[in-house]
Symmetry: C2
Subunit: 67 residues, 2 copies
């Protein structure tokens, strides 16, 4: 699982992030917690692919290392 | 110029719509009026290309015929 903190401000932002990530090849699931702005992605898509897709819709994105 | 009414609820939504439209080949300008939710696109991109790009980020979109 890979996690990001994404600049989302409303349910519409959440939906946009979910849509672009779900469309990536290899993404199995997308979980979004709006209170913490945390987005979790499972599957085989890379960190870079996910971050690039999010950046393309103009949202700030920060990788959260999972220990 | 082609015009759409797009389901946007915050500045983040506006930015996402502006980003995906600006990335389309042939789009010259994107103007967004958040009070009316109207999005105006100039350039050579087709109505279908614009609507498909907006729908891909999970936003409702309605074409506004200009007379």
């Amino acid at each position: 699982m890979i996690q990001f903190r994404v600049g989302m401000t409303c349910g519409g932002c959440e939906k946009a992030v979910r849509s672009v990530l779900s469309n990536l090849t290899g993404v199995k699931s997308v979980t979004i917690d709006m209170s913490s702005k945390e987005v979790s992605v499972t599957g085989t898509a890379s960190k870079e692919e996910c971050m690039s897709a999010i950046a393309k819709i103009g949202k700030s994105v920060e990788f959260i290392p999972v220990f």
